[in-house]
C-alpha cells in the first residue's frame, strides 16, 4: 500500500490490484475514518477526500494503514439482472480480440459473475469487474462521438452500461432497456460499488 497526497484535502491510496481495492473499500465503508467526506474507489486506488476542519491528512493516513481490509467481500447488495440484446457494433471485433466468435463472447459475458468495482466517468456509470478475471479488451482506437444510452460495452478488464448518450471509446457489444441512472429513484444509481450484476440475453437483433 502506498499513501500519496492528492492536494491538501485528499489522499490517494495505491494498491496492487482490484481485489485489494475492494477489500479496503469494504473496510472503509464499515469503519469510515472521522472527517472523511468522500471515498472514491477505482481500479488500483482509493481516493479519500477529507474535511480539513475535522481532520488532517496525516491522521487519515494513519487510520488507513491500521485498517484491516475485508477480502472476498466483492459483492454487497442485491443482484441486478441486466437484460441485453447482443447486437453491438463491435461484437465481432471483440470476438476476434478475445480469440473467439460472437456466440462465445455472449456466452462468456452472460456466464460471468460481474460486480460493480467502482463508479465514475458519468453519474451512474459502474465499472463491472468479472470474477473470472479473463477480460482484457482494448478500447477503440478512435472513440465514438456519441454512444447511445443503454449501450453495454467492454474495455480493459471491465464491462459497463452507458447511463446516457455520451462520447465513448468502449467496445459496444449490446444494449439494454434497463435504466441504470434515474433521478426519480432513491438512490438514483442502480449500479453502486459492490453490487453483483448478471447479464441475461434477450435477443440478438
Amino acid at each position: 500500500m502506498r499513501v500519496l497526497s492528492s492536494g491538501s484535502e485528499a489522499l490517494l491510496i495505491e494498491l496492487d490490484d482490484l481485489d485489494q481495492v475492494l477489500a479496503l473499500y469494504a473496510a472503509l465503508r464499515e469503519e469510515r475514518p472521522a472527517g472523511v467526506i468522500d471515498i472514491v474507489p477505482a481500479a488500483r486506488t482509493v481516493l479519500l477526500v477529507i474535511d480539513p476542519a475535522a481532520t488532517d491528512l496525516a491522521e487519515v493516513g494513519r487510520a488507513v494503514r491500521q485498517m484491516r481490509p475485508r477480502p472476498n467481500r466483492r459483492a454487497a447488495g442485491e443482484l441486478v439482472e441486466v437484460p441485453v440484446t447482443y447486437d453491438g457494433e463491435d461484437l465481432n471485433e471483440v470476438g476476434s480480440l478475445l480469440g473467439c466468435d460472437a456466440d462465445e463472447v455472449v456466452r462468456r459475458h452472460t456466464g460471468e459473475e460481474w460486480t460493480v468495482a467502482f463508479c465514475g466517468f458519468a453519474p451512474g456509470f459502474g465499472y463491472l469487474a468479472g470474477a473470472s478475471g479473463g477480460w482484457d479488451v482494448p478500447r477503440r482506437s478512435s472513440p465514438r462521438t456519441t454512444v447511445p444510452a443503454g449501450s453495454v460495452a467492454l474495455a480493459g478488464e471491465f464491462s459497463g452500461i452507458y447511463p446516457r448518450a455520451s462520447p465513448g471509446g468502449w467496445q459496444l457489444i449490446g444494449r439494454t432497456e434497463l435504466v441504470v441512472f434515474d433521478l426519480q429513484r432513491d438512490p438514483p444509481a442502480l449500479l453502486r460499488p459492490g453490487t453483483p450484476v448478471r447479464f441475461v440475453e434477450v435477443g440478438r437483433t
Binding site: 492536494g7 490517494l12 468522500d38 477526500v49 446516457r164
Partner: protein, 296 residues
C-alpha cells in the same frame, strides 16, 4: 399578489449563467462530483453580504451580460468579477419592476449575484448547482426564466461594502505541491512546470483550465488506470500541457496528476481569462503528510 413568493425574471443571460451553491457532497463513489461555484470565496462572500444561509444558491454569471427584472422588492449583491458601471461587493435593493443589467467584467470571468433569500429552485441530489460535465442540476438559464426566491431567517450583516481585491489582470502566480504522479515525470519536467509561464487557452471552462506551454516529458509512459481526482489537480494528458481541474471536473481521470494547486488559489484560477498567464511556484511546501493544514 401579496401571498405570492418573491421571484425574479431573467431578461438576458449573457454568454452563460448558471445557478450554483456549495455543491454536492459524499456522492463521488456514485460518479457524482461536487460541482458548485467556481470561485468559492466570492460565492461565500456574496451570501454573507445579503445575510443568506450558508449554502444558499446564487447566480454564476460568465463574462457579464445578465439582465434581470425584479418581480418584487429584492436585495442583492454582486461579487467576484466586477462588472462595469455598477456597485460591487455592496448590497443594493431593487424595487418591483426594476431591472439590473451587468456589463462586461473589468477583470476576471465570473460574477456572483446573490439575492437575499437565495435562488429557490428544487434541489437535485442535495444541491442546486448545475454540473455542466455530468449534466446534473438546474438547466442553464435562458431568457424568460422566472426564478423563485426563498426566505432568509438571518439578519442583514450591516455591512455597506466588503473590501476584497478584484480578480487580477495579467500574470497570476499560484502555489503548487507535487501530486500523486509526480514520479511519472522527469525532474526536468517538474522544473519546467515551475519555470514557464502558461497561457490560458480559449477551450477553458468550468471543468478546467486548459493551459498552453512547453509540453512536459514523462518518465513513465505506461497507461494509468483511472483514479479519483479533486479540484486543483494539474492533469497532464498525452499532449503534455496541463489541464487544471475546476468545479465540474470529472470524478475520476486516466492521466497522471503531476501536481495540485493549493485549494485557496484555485478560486483565483477560476477567474482567469483566455490569454492570461499562469505561473506555478512551491513556497512553503513542507511535504505531503506533515500535520494539520493551516487555517487560511
Amino acid at each position: 399578489m401579496t401571498a405570492a413568493a418573491a421571484s425574479l425574471t431573467v431578461v438576458e443571460t449573457g454568454p452563460l449563467t448558471t445557478i450554483q451553491d456549495a455543491g454536492r457532497f459524499g456522492q463521488r463513489a456514485l460518479g457524482i462530483g461536487r460541482s458548485g461555484a467556481c470561485d468559492r470565496g466570492a460565492y461565500e462572500l456574496a451570501n454573507r453580504l445579503v445575510g443568506n444561509d450558508e449554502g444558499a444558491a446564487v447566480l454564476e454569471v460568465t463574462f457579464g451580460g445578465l439582465m434581470l427584472c425584479a418581480d418584487a422588492d429584492i436585495t442583492l449583491v454582486t461579487t467576484g468579477a466586477r462588472c462595469a458601471g455598477m456597485p460591487h461587493n455592496v448590497p443594493l435593493t431593487l424595487a418591483a419592476g426594476d431591472q439590473l443589467a451587468l456589463g462586461p467584467p473589468v477583470t476576471g470571468v465570473r460574477t456572483y449575484v446573490a439575492v437575499r433569500g437565495g435562488i429557490d429552485v428544487p434541489q437535485v441530489l442535495g444541491s442546486r448547482s448545475t454540473d455542466l460535465l455530468a449534466g446534473l442540476g438546474p438547466d442553464v438559464l435562458g431568457a424568460g426564466d422566472r426564478l423563485p426566491i426563498g426566505k432568509s431567517t438571518r439578519p442583514m450583516p450591516g455591512v455597506d461594502l466588503a473590501a476584497v481585491p478584484d480578480p487580477a489582470p495579467g500574470e497570476l502566480v499560484v502555489s503548487v505541491q507535487p501530486g500523486p504522479r509526480r514520479d511519472w515525470f522527469t525532474d526536468q519536467s517538474w522544473a519546467s512546470l515551475l519555470k514557464q509561464g502558461y497561457t490560458v487557452n480559449a477551450q477553458s471552462n468550468r471543468v478546467g483550465l486548459r493551459l498552453d506551454g512547453e509540453p512536459l516529458e514523462r518518465a513513465n509512459t505506461g497507461e494509468l488506470s483511472s483514479e479519483g481526482m479533486v479540484r486543483g489537480a494539474l492533469q497532464i494528458p498525452m499532449s503534455g500541457t496541463p489541464v487544471l481541474f475546476l468545479a465540474d471536473h470529472p470524478v475520476t481521470g486516466g492521466y497522471p496528476v503531476i501536481g495540485y494547486v493549493v485549494d485557496h488559489d484555485v478560486d483565483r484560477c477560476g477567474q482567469l481569462r483566455t490569454g492570461q498567464t499562469l505561473r506555478f511556484t512551491t513556497p512553503g511546501y513542507t511535504g505531503p503528510l506533515l500535520g494539520r493544514t493551516p487555517a487560511r
